[in-house]
Structure formats: structure tokens, C-alpha cells
């Protein structure tokens, strides 16, 4: 990444010197002023929350129901009306039905990768996986393009993510919390705040010594993504540790009980609560995950008893919570699994399951400039494929970046200097935005 290495406008050593001079009084405003030399993505939503539904959620039993299709397609659930006339989805998501105006449903999204890993890579990068080049996940791109508060990790995964930094280099990787918060209990990520009586002065003195000694790879560093990444992590860790911001940002127990209650007690709900708090604190990209959608068997009981109530509670609380904090307009939200599921119910076990089906799936978008309460795209009468042209994961990726003020045609360069377009094949879905 030789060519883009200065895009951040700031190098570790510069920063540490500032730290040494400014002590802890270095504010975000100062930092941003200092960072203006770089190309920082302006405008658009300032942060993003990506909700991953690994396993591949069925579209027919959730947001793309076909009540008029034959029984072996339509399944056991019925659609329900929502607070938006004309928009209907599964009866087992009543809380979301009351805030359907806050998000847009994309139907007839279509691709061809029916394996979990490849599908996940596709929907987490917006580019169809290539053997020769690993594309960066959304979070890595946003980390690169959006300046974050220096004393917070820019990209947090609760508890972990499939979004890898790819060709951008490891320095743009997520911080994985490794676990999810428990209701009402203090939550922290180990090591991110000073403990045990170590003083900031000591820490800074050591850090300056480290800065003086860590020169072995000097001339080579810029050509090696691992070393460059370690360098950046060194700087970030130092800043995060010596500030209180990160510790406070992670501690969901500091939220008021009234605010926290709607999120419920599930790990997913608690993750959504943490995501809202992190975004409010200045973290740029948060991923949340709700797995278990690989319903080859017992599709309907798994959905009804567990998956849908959990998703309904957590996602509706997130939308309402962000709105309450005035953050919905500045936070781009994207919900997706890796594919839909076969329209025709398999008869391997009663009462049936559905298998991998990438040709037709749904995605959800909210926040930022997304106009909620609408359905974009359409599937055919049995939801076996898009009714018309269909929407590609690339199109949704382009739209997501657009919502964040990042040009999807931005050109990057590989380590060998090869030009690479951020979203190779996607077009921004115009109707999505207000």
C-alpha cells in the first residue's frame, strides 16, 4: 500500500510526539485539524452498524413473504401489516412492524455463491470473491476513509467479524470484543484502560523509549502490511490506553435502565445496545452478529421460537434507540446474511427446512439518508428469483458506501501498485435515498 500510506495524513511517530507534548489534553478537534492533510471522506453518515445474519436467513419466511404461493413454498407463517401502509412482513416480528418506517427492505437481491464462506465474503465486501485478491470488508474501508477519534478503536466487532482488511492491510482490521455484554453488568475489553496504579507519565516515558528503539524495519516497513499494521496498532493502543473514552464507550452498564430495557437480555440485543453506545462515543464501524439461520431442518420452529423474536427485539430497539439519541440520521445500517433459502421446502424432516439459495435473498438498509418504510426490488411469485433485473450485492455495497459519503468508485492500489476499484460492479440504488 505504498501509494496510500499517507492518506491518513498522520504517521505514528508524529502522533506520539504530539502525545508527548500535549499530554492528555489532545482533543479530537485538534487531532482532526492535524489530520486534514489526508483525504478524509466528507459528508454522508458518520458511522455504520453492520448486522450479520450468518447461516443465510430465509427470505420467504421473513421479509419477502408469498402468501399466495403454493403451500410447499409459502410455509407456515403469515404476513402482518406494519406501520407503513402496503409494507408487510412476517407476523413474528411485531416490534419491527411498529417501526417499519425506519428501514428499507431490499427484495430480489441475487447472486450465485451458495457456500457459506464464499457467500459471507461476498456480502461482507460487496465484491465477488477472487482467488488472487482479497477484498476488504466494509469496516476496513470505513476505517481507512473516515477519521476516527484517536482514543477509540475505529472498528469494533461484537464479538467478531468476517470483515477482513484484505488488500488494504491488517492495520484496518477490527477490534474483536470476543464476547457480548450481559444485561446490566459492566462490560469491558481487557487491557484498554490503565489499571494497577500505572501512571500516564510512566506509560508515556516507556512509549517514547519504544519509539526510539523500534527502528529495525524502518526502510522496509512501508512495503510490508504486517509491519505497517503493527506500527499503527502500537500508536492506537497507546492512545486508547491512556484515555478513559474507550473504557466508558464499552461499558453498557452506564446506559440508563430505561434506555437499555427494550434491547432485552439476549446476546444479540445486548450487542445492539453496545453498538449504539459505541457509535454514540465516536466509533466508526460496528459489526453485530446473530447466527443460527442455516435452517436445513426445522426451519419454522427455529424461526418462530428463537430467531425471529430475538432479531425483532434487538433490531427494533437499535433503530428506536439510535433515533432517540439523534444518531439514526448519521448512522448507516446494513443487515444481511450470505444468501436466501430455497423457496421450495425440503421434505427431509418434518416440518421441513430450507437449503442454501443465493439467487433470491433480502437485505435491509436504514439510517443516514436511507428513506425508510419502502420496499426496493421485487422477487417473482414464488420468490425463486428477482422479478425484474434484480439487485446485486455489489449494488447494495455501492449504496452503503454512498450512504457513508464514500465514493464506491474510489481507486486503491495493491501492494504491487495495481489499481483496484472499491466496488467493481455495483451501481448506487438511487431510489433507496430520500
Amino acid at each position: 500500500m505504498a501509494i496510500h500510506q499517507t492518506c491518513d495524513g498522520i504517521r505514528r511517530r508524529d502522533f506520539l510526539r504530539m502525545g508527548a507534548i500535549g499530554g492528555t489534553s489532545l482533543t479530537l478537534a485538534n487531532y482532526l485539524k492535524f489530520a486534514q492533510a489526508g483525504q478524509v471522506a466528507q459528508g454522508g453518515a458518520q458511522a455504520a452498524i453492520f448486522i450479520n445474519l450468518p447461516g443465510g436467513p430465509t427470505h420467504l419466511d421473513t421479509f419477502d413473504m408469498k402468501p399466495d404461493a403454493p403451500a410447499e413454498y409459502r410455509g407456515l407463517f403469515k404476513p402482518m401489516k406494519t406501520n407503513v401502509p402496503g409494507v408487510e412482513f412476517c407476523e413474528h416480528m411485531p416490534k419491527l412492524a411498529k417501526c417499519a418506517d425506519k428501514f428499507a427492505i431490499l427484495r430480489g437481491v441475487s447472486h450465485t455463491l451458495a457456500a457459506h464462506r464464499l457467500g459471507q465474503e461476498y456480502v461482507n465486501t460487496g465484491s465477488r470473491p477472487l482467488a488472487s485478491l482479497e477484498y476488504p470488508g466494509y469496516g476496513a474501508v470505513v476505517t481507512k476513509e473516515k477519521q476516527a477519534a484517536p482514543d477509540l478503536p475505529p472498528f469494533v466487532a461484537i464479538p467478531n467479524t468476517n470483515q477482513r482488511p484484505g488488500f488494504l492491510g491488517v492495520q484496518y482490521a477490527a477490534l474483536n470484543t470476543g464476547q457480548t455484554p450481559r444485561p446490566g453488568q459492566p462490560f469491558r475489553v481487557r487491557g484498554i484502560s490503565l489499571e494497577g496504579g500505572v501512571t500516564i507519565e510512566e506509560v508515556e516515558r516507556r512509549a517514547n523509549l519504544l519509539d526510539d528503539l523500534d527502528h529495525t524495519f524502518n526502510d522496509y516497513e512501508q512495503h510490508n502490511q504486517l509491519l505497517e499494521g503493527l506500527d499503527r496498532f502500537g500508536q492506537q493502543a497507546q492512545t486508547i490506553i491512556t484515555s478513559r473514552s474507550a473504557r466508558d464507550a464499552f461499558d453498557v452498564s452506564q446506559e440508563s435502565p430505561e434506555f437499555a430495557k427494550p434491547f432485552g437480555e439476549t446476546p444479540f440485543g445486548q450487542s445492539c445496545l453496545l453498538a449504539s453506545r459505541l457509535v454514540a462515543s465516536g466509533v466508526r464501524f460496528v459489526t453485530v452478529s446473530l447466527g443460527g439461520w442455516d435452517t436445513h431442518q426445522n426451519n419454522f420452529s427455529k424461526l418462530q421460537e428463537n430467531l425471529l423474536p430475538t432479531f425483532d427485539e434487538g433490531f427494533s430497539a437499535l433503530l428506536n434507540g439510535l433515533e432517540q439519541k439523534g444518531l439514526l440520521a448519521s448512522t448507516a445500517i446494513f443487515v444481511t446474511g450470505e444468501f436466501g433459502r430455497t423457496p421450495k421446502i425440503n421434505n427431509r424432516s418434518e416440518p421441513g427446512g430450507r437449503d442454501h439459495y443465493p439467487r433470491c435473498m433480502f437485505m435491509l438498509m436504514a439510517g443516514g439518508r436511507v428513506r425508510g418504510g419502502q420496499v426496493i426490488g421485487e422477487s417473482d411469485d414464488k420468490a425463486t428469483g428477482p422479478a425484474h433485473d434484480g439487485i446485486s450485492p455489489d449494488d447494495v455495497a455501492a449504496s452503503f458506501y454512498h450512504n457513508l459519503g464514500i465514493d464506491p468508485t474510489t481507486e486503491y492500489h495493491s501492494t504491487t501498485g495495481r489499481p483496484i476499484t472499491l466496488v467493481r460492479n455495483g451501481k448506487v440504488i438511487k431510489g433507496l435515498f430520500g
Binding site: V170, R205, A237, I241
Partner: protein
């Protein structure tokens, strides 16, 4: 019966002039079917299906999709001829009409005369049209019985070297069939570039050069997959203009042969200090100690590097680190082994111990594999009771690694995650063959010759392996009930039963153990079994990939012919998979990358190199230590990481050392080794106590406790998905946070076993004020001993909560009186030798002496430190936080 030779030997690109012409070569279909008057009948397997593949009909996004498309489904990527023939000729809407050939959809859809969602694929009256037309006119036949096997696909040229932008070369492919017929099949092949940036290939096989570098174009036809190396040198220094580079070993000869074509000049050799650190970390997961480094640097022997390798190969750390890696490949996961033994964690520990013992004794690799593949719980003529007695004894044994005495290691097959024959076949292929055959479970493997049928036939080897929770067979049933009656545990179930088992074993009793065995071929299978997740019925026959059909119903153990095949000298998988994985441990990437994907479409970056190592490894009796020596002895391994202009971007041709983050267990261990006192650091390679490389199992549970937290943060293998990617060596912010500021690290810096404490004592420095602790009570040692015993007791009983509680109490007590016995006197004004201290700190962390600048900066820091102990801590903290510390380079 089909009978192929080993595809990997046969489906290689060849120079056509060197092949004797066995029969007249048929010109391509493109020529033969150009004219409408053609009378030839095309063959379904040879022409029709490949043409559909070429046209994209059976691709993922078209009729190859699950549930088909437009009411018409083909097998993905072809090769399920029967199903494809049925799809074309049968059903409500057959795609061919033999009665009215010209009405056939196969002719009218792809020409877009009937509405076709996929658009126009070819013109009416084109050669493609005539191929399909003639096939339909002749009755649209497919005769499975008379089908021929493809013997070879000869692609020319065998290798392409480009020199400038936009150069073009056309590939030609000739199919050679069982009956000796040869046919130019270029227009029926699919072509794929493995790196679009380096080389582009169009659908006709026309290859166009891209940027500098090397990759492959892969040619697909029938079940053949042939990679063609494509190279474009990165500099002018090629062939005659290439500098004189010494090649002291065969490995170097083969590597430099490729570098010469690529114009890549390798880096110089590394220093002795660099070599010692690098090799010690790679081979033993351990840092060299300070005294060891000094001795090595002072040694003037010519062959001191080789001598050092020999010495380290004998160390326990070598066996421990490689047992860890072998546990990765074999999938030693504690979650998958839940309840496989009545005593918790015993199976995973036994698994590790069994492998450790064999690596330490340098048992040939094929024997280790056989001990896993052919494993059964009982050995010899052991009765079920005798087996349970032996296992109960093992649980109580005082000696180390008691399970290692057993002949075989059955826990590989006992895993609850691989109960079905299909899952076992996939796991087996991953572990011992280094390939991913799961694609072929549903369709023709897109990157390999495996067809769905191959996969199904292969699973036949695994269907008779059974895990019986209460023993297997009639004798076991009776003896199990006897034991239960004797033990008085009737009626107990689940956790309660397991708890009582642990307690009974401790009391010297024999308890029943689950067992793995190969059961008879007549296993029944009904719906009820399926619901309960029991094994599928045994297949009567199974087939190896080379076409050999085995009557598995008539052999005692179907795994035997499988193992015989695997260890036969020319098997293309066993040796290559392990050689490649071990190579990757030393070079950051494998010769095939990723290391668990040795499919034909992912060819080696240096095929002669992998061939050589695999062949010699077998010739040396699968001697693992030979392999380590052979790799380490090469100049390639001993090169510096410092790049030159030509190899700056080389990551896969082994022209320099690539800095890599230390693997999780090694990172955890060396951080400790760098911070503990000299005495403990010096024995790190021999004393495995507390070492992460001695932890037997991995799993998703308990990942926040003890060393598991750090190991998870640093990406140790989770060993759960048949993928070498279960381990990650990526760096992350949280790893840096761990080394900078985790309580683990900060405690290590100056606890009583730390180097800082040792030096403080040596120099008569008092501990820093906040480290002061009250004096130890007289019964301190007794209290500690009692608490330790409590922990062990609860652990043995599997009482988690009590164990945790006892551990907390132990830790709190230790911390309260930590180090107070070592209390030194008042701080002395004695002059301390700053330079010597700094050198010791450097040796124990970065395994080298400091440079003049580093010495000066460190000395300034120490002198400016008001509190000398804090100064020492600061210096050591800074050194373990350098990039140089956490990467191997």
C-alpha cells in the same frame, strides 16, 4: 469399471512433440462441425456436456444452480452424465425432441429463437449448433456402459514466459482417451486465470500477458484440470543475465531455477543471531536463551547451524510445538470430544500425548497416520472390561503421557462433529490429503477432478466406524451392565453419572468407557436412527480416486485398503500435504497456498520443488526430522528478510525471509520467556510446564480464562472446521493492547519470578514502593501446598465451580505475600553496569546485542529513571513491544 492412472501424474501439461503419436489426431469439433452437411454423431460425454460447460449452461448462475433455472437443471460443472442426460431427454418438458429434432429447445433456446433468459449463446448454423443438432438427430444418446475414460489432456505450450505487455499465446488442448483416440478439444475446454492482474485468458484459450509476476492459466475438460504456468519476469536479470547465485542444496537449485526465469535475485544470507532466533522459533516455538545465543555466536564451527538444528530436534519443545500443529491438522477440539471419555478433557489430552510421543521418537509420518486412520479403542484381544481397566488406569497414572503407550489413537474418529460418513470423508481428506472435497458432495468439484460420484464412492470407507457410548458388541453389553451393577450407579445419568465416574476412578475403580470400533457390514439403518443422528448404512463398495473399487463389505476394516493406498509411494496426497504444511511453517506460505487446498487448479508455485521434497520424504521413510533438516539447511530458509529491488514484492517464490507474526502459542510463550528470570528462561525448551505449546486441546468454550484469553486474541487454531484457516497469524489492535497493557503482561514484568525481580535482587535494589508486600507467615508453604492440592482435586473431579474458587484463593494468597522472602535491603548506591544490563535485556527479547544507538537510547532512559526498578521494567516493556519482538524475521 473405470480405471484411471493417477490424475496428477497424467493430467500434466506436456510438450506435444515429445509425445509419440499413438493414433491420428482428430481435428477439433469447431472444424469438423463447421458445415451443415456434417454426418458425424457427437458423443454426449466428449462433446455435448463439455460444450454446455463451455457455453456456461451448467454454471452456478444458470442451469447448474440448485433447483435449476427456467425449469431445467443440469449438474453443476457437468460430469453427472446420467442426470444431465435425463434432464435433457426426460420430464414434462424435455429439452430435446428426437422425433422433431428441429423443435428441440436445446437448439432454439440458446440461439434465442425461443425466449431464453440467458440470451443468445451461439448462432444458428454455427458449429456449436451443428454439434447439438447432430446429437439430437442421431437419437440424443448416452451410453454409460461404453463410456471411455479420459487418460490425459495434453496442453501446449506447457509453460509460457512473457516479456512485455499484451503479448498473446494461444493454448491448444488434446484429449487422449482409453481407446487411444486423440482429439483436439480446445474449443470444448474452459479456461481460467488464477490471477487476472498477471494473465488474462479468453474463452478460446488465448492467453494475454498482464503485469509482472507469475500465476497459472487452468484448462478444464471432462474431469481433467491442467494448470499452465505463466511467468513474466520482474527484472531484466533473467537467464544469461542472471547473477551467479550459489545453490548449495537441491532445494536451492529448484528455487533458483524459478527465480532465474522470474528475474528475482534472492536476498543475502542472514546473520547467525537472526538464524538462531528464527530457527528456534520455527522449529521449537521457543526463544533461544541469552547464554545460548552468546555460545552460538562464539562458536567457530563451520557446521554450527546444522549442529544446532540437531540439538533442537531432540528438545521437548520441538515435540510439543509440532504436536500442537498436528493437533491442528487432525482437529483436536475439546467441544467435539465432549463425553467421549468419562473424565473431562481426557480424550483431548490423550490425543496430544499420543502424537507428542511419536514426534519425540521420530516415528515415521505414515505410521503416525496409520495409528490414527486404523485406530480402534481396544487393542489386541482386549475384552471390553480389560479396555476399561486399562483406560481407568491411564486416568490414575502418575507418569507423563500414559496414553501414548496405546497402539492407536481413536479419538480422531470419536469426534461428535464427524458422525456421518460424508463428514468423515471430508475430515479425512482435509487432514491427510490436504484437499477440500466438500464441493464434490453436491456437484463436480470446480477446481479438481473429483466428481459427485467419486465423493459418494469415497465415503464408503468411513461408514463402518462406530462410536459406542457403552461399548460395542455383545460381550461389551454384558460387561457394561456388570460394571454398572458393581459400581452401584444404576439410574444415574448425564452430568451426575460423569461426576461419579471421575470419583470412582480416583477410588481405584474401573468404570465403563465409550469405544470406537469398526462394526460389521450389515449395520441397519432406519428412520429412527436417522433422527437420533446415528450413522448411515454401510456401503457395500467404496472407490478410491484412482478408480480402484474395493469390496468393503468383505474386508474386516475398510480403512485398511484406504490406508494402503494413502501410504503407497506414488500416492499424490499424503506426503505432499504434510511437506507443504511444514514448508509453510518456515516460509510464511506453502508451495501450494492455501496449504489445505492441493487441488489441481491450485498448482504449486514451484512444482519441481514440491515433487522433490515429497519424493525424498517418502524415500527417507517419511522421516519428519529429515524434512525439517532438509528445509532448514537450505539457503532459501537462511536468507535475510532485507529485500532488494527485485524481490521486494516476492511473497511466494522464497527469495527472502518474510516477517511473520508469531503464532498464538509461541507469542504467549515467548512473552513469558522474555520476562521471567534467567533460570526459568534457560530451561524453556526442556520444561514444558506452563507452556502454551503444551496445551492439548482447543475449543470455543472457556476462552476468557487463563492462557485461553491470550491464545484466542492471538488467533490459535479453533480446530473446528477442517480448514488450516482456523488458525490466524494476522496482527490486531487487541494483540498490541495485550502486550502493552494486559494485566497478564504487567504482572509478569515484575512478579517474583521475573527477570526484573532477579536483577533487582542481584543489584540490591529495593522493589518499587507499590510492590512492597507484607512478610510471609511461617506456614506460607503449607498453605500454598494445600491450596494447590485442592485445585487438583476439584479438577480431577470435574467440579468447575470449586476448582475456580480454589484457584482464586490460591492466587490471592500468593499475591498477598508475593516475593516477600526475597525482600532486599535498602537501595544501595552501588554503580550498576548499565550497558551490560541492556545487553542482557536485548538478548532475552530480541535475541541479539543492541546497536550503538539503541544502547545509547536505552542507557539514557535508565539513567533518567528515578526508580531503577521502574527503569528496568520500562526497558523490558519497550523491547517486547517492538515489532521485531512479535514477528519472526
Amino acid at each position: 469399471m473405470q480405471r484411471n492412472l493417477f490424475p496428477s501424474l497424467v493430467f500434466s501439461a506436456m510438450v506435444i512433440s515429445s509425445v509419440p503419436l499413438l493414433a491420428a489426431e482428430l481435428p477439433s469439433v469447431e472444424k469438423r462441425f463447421a458445415d451443415a452437411s456434417v454426418s458425424e454423431t457427437p458423443d454426449f460425454q466428449r462433446h455435448v456436456v463439455p460444450l454446455m460447460g463451455r457455453l456456461g449452461c451448467n454454471g452456478r448462475s444458470c442451469h447448474g444452480s440448485f433447483q435449476g433455472r427456467g425449469g431445467f437443471q443440469l449438474s453443476l460443472f457437468g460430469y453427472d452424465f446420467r442426470a444431465d442426460h435425463a434432464a435433457l431427454t426426460e420430464g414434462d418438458e424435455p429439452r430435446v425432441s428426437v422425433k422433431e429434432p428441429m423443435d428441440s429447445m436445446i437448439l432454439n433456446k440458446p440461439t434465442d429463437e425461443f425466449e431464453h433468459e440467458g440470451g443468445k449463446r451461439f448462432e444458428r448454423d454455427s458449429w456449436q449448433y451443428h454439434v447439438f443438432r447432430r446429437w439430437v438427430e442421431a437419437g440424443a444418446k448416452y451410453d454409460a456402459e461404453s463410456a471411455q475414460a479420459l487418460v490425459a489432456l495434453e496442453v501446449t505450450p506447457a509453460e509460457i514466459q512473457f516479456h512485455k505487455d499484451q503479448e498473446q499465446v494461444a493454448l491448444q488442448a488434446v484429449a487422449v482417451w482409453d481407446d487411444g483416440t486423440r482429439e483436439d478439444v480446445t474449443p470444448l475446454c474452459r479456461f481460467q486465470s488464477n490471477d487476472d492482474a498477471v494473465v488474462a485468458v479468453d474463452e478460446t484459450g488465448l492467453v494475454t500477458s498482464g503485469e509482472k509476476g507469475d500465476s497459472h492459466v487452468v484448462v478444464f475438460y471432462d474431469n481433467a484440470v491442467v494448470p499452465v504456468p505463466i511467468m513474466r519476469p520482474v527484472s531484466d536479470q533473467i537467464d544469461q543475465a542472471y547473477p551467479d547465485v550459489a545453490t548449495s542444496t537441491k532445494v536451492d537449485e529448484l528455487i533458483v531455477a524459478k527465480l532465474r526465469k522470474m528475474g528475482i535475485v534472492p536476498s543475502d544470507l542472514c546473520t547467525d543471531a537472526e538464524f538462531l532466533r528464527r530457527m528456534s522459533l520455527d522449529l521449537t516455538g521457543t526463544l533461544p536463551s541469552a547464554s545460548e545465543i552468546e555460545a552460538f555466536l562464539a562458536d567457530s564451527a563451520q557446521d554450527k547451524r546444522a549442529q544446532k538444528v540437531d540439538e533442537l530436534l531432540e528438545s521437548p519443545a520441538y515435540a510439543a510445538w509440532w504436536a500442537t500443529r498436528f493437533c491442528d491438522y487432525t482437529g483436536n477440539n475439546s467441544d467435539a470430544l465432549n463425553n467421549v471419555t468419562p473424565v473431562r478433557e481426557m480424550a483431548g489430552q490423550a490425543w496430544y500425548d499420543w502424537i507428542y510421543d511419536r514426534i519425540a521418537r521420530n516415528v515415521p509420518y505414515d505410521e503416525i497416520v496409520a495409528g490414527i486412520v486404523l485406530s480402534e479403542s481396544r487393542e489386541g484381544d482386549e475384552s471390553y472390561r480389560e479396555y476399561c481397566e486399562a483406560m481407568s488406569d491411564i486416568c490414575r497414572a502418575d507418569e507423563q503421557r500414559p496414553f501414548a503407550e496405546r497402539e492407536t489413537m481413536p479419538y480422531y474418529w470419536a469426534r461428535r462433529t464427524i458422525r456421518q460418513p460424508e463428514d468423515r470423508a471430508i475430515a479425512f481428506a482435509y487432514t491427510f490429503m490436504g484437499i477440500r472435497i466438500e464441493c464434490a458432495q453436491c456437484h463436480k468439484h470446480p477446481f479438481d477432478q473429483w466428481s459427485k460420484n467419486d465423493f459418494e464412492q469415497f465415503t464408503g470407507f468411513f461408514s463402518r466406524i462406530t462410536l459406542g457410548n457403552n461399548g460395542l458388541g455383545n460381550d461389551a453389553k454384558a460387561q457394561y451392565q456388570e460394571m454398572v451393577a458393581e459400581l452401584g450407579i444404576e439410574g444415574k445419568r448425564g452430568g451426575e453419572l460423569r461426576k461419579s465416574f471421575s470419583q470412582l476412578i480416583e477410588k481405584g475403580k474401573t468404570v465403563p468407557f465409550p469405544e470406537v470400533a469398526v462394526t460389521g457390514a450389515k449395520a441397519t439403518y432406519n428412520k429412527k436412527d436417522k433422527k437420533q443422528g446415528k450413522e448411515a448404512p454401510a456401503r457395500k463398495t467404496a472407490r478410491l480416486l484412482d478408480g480402484q473399487v474395493i469390496d468393503v463389505a468383505s474386508v474386516d476394516d475398510p480403512r485398511k485398503p484406504l490406508m494402503d493406498w494413502l501410504r503407497s509411494g506414488d500416492n499424490p496426497y499424503l506426503a505432499r500435504a504434510i511437506v507443504n504444511r511444514i514448508w509453510a511453517n518456515y516460509f510464511n506460505v506453502g508451495i501450494v497456498q492455501p496449504t489445505d487446498d492441493l487441488s489441481l487448479a491450485h498448482p504449486p508455485s514451484n512444482a519441481p520443488l514440491l515433487d522433490y521434497l515429497a519424493r525424498e520424504f517418502v524415500a527417507h521413510g517419511y522421516d519428519l526430522k529429515w524434512l525439517h533438516r532438509e528445509i532448514i539447511a537450505s539457503d532459501a530458509y537462511q536468507r535475510s528478510w532485507r529485500p532488494n529491488e527485485t524481490n521486494m514484492h516476492d511473497e511466494k517464490n522464497f527469495s527472502r525471509a518474510i516477517p511473520r507474526r508469531l503464532p498464538a502459542e509461541v507469542a504467549y510463550d515467548v512473552l513469558r520467556q522474555a520476562l521471567v528470570n534467567d533460570e526459568q528462561a534457560a530451561v524453556a525448551r526442556d520444561d514444558l510446564k506452563g507452556r502454551a505449546i503444551a496445551i492439548a486441546t482447543a475449543g470455543a468454550r472457556n476462552n476468557s480464562r487463563g492462557p485461553q484469553y491470550a491464545l484466542t486474541v492471538f488467533g490459535r487454531s479453533i480446530r473446528e472446521s477442517n480448514c488450516d484457516c482456523d488458525r490466524t497469524n494476522d496482527a490486531s489492535l487487541l494483540q498490541t493492547v495485550y502486550i502493552q497493557n494486559d494485566s497478564d503482561t504487567l504482572m509478569l514484568l515484575d512478579d517474583r519470578d521475573s527477570w526484573v525481580a532477579q536483577v533487582s535482587k542481584e543489584l540490591g535494589l529495593s522493589k518499587s514502593a507499590k510492590q512492597k508486600t507484607p512478610p510471609r507467615p511461617k506456614n506460607y508453604d503449607t498453605v500454598i501446598e494445600n491450596l494447590e492440592k485442592q485445585v487438583q482435586r476439584h479438577h480431577r473431579r470435574g467440579d468447575d465451580a470449586a476448582e475456580r474458587k480454589a484457584k482464586v484463593a490460591l492466587k490471592a494468597y500468593r499475591e498477598r505475600f508475593q516475593d516477600s522472602s526475597d525482600e532486599a535491603g535498602e537501595e544501595t548506591a552501588a554503580e550498576w553496569n548499565v550497558d551490560a544490563l541492556i545487553e542482557r535485556a536485548y538478548l532475552r527479547t530480541l535475541s541479539r546485542r543492541p546497536t550503538t544507538d539503541e544502547l545509547a537510547a536505552s542507557a539514557d532512559f535508565l539513567r533518567e529513571s528515578e526508580d531503577r526498578v521502574e527503569g528496568l521494567k520500562g526497558l523490558l516493556w519497550a523491547l517486547v513491544n517492538t515489532k521485531e519482538f512479535i514477528v519472526n524475521h
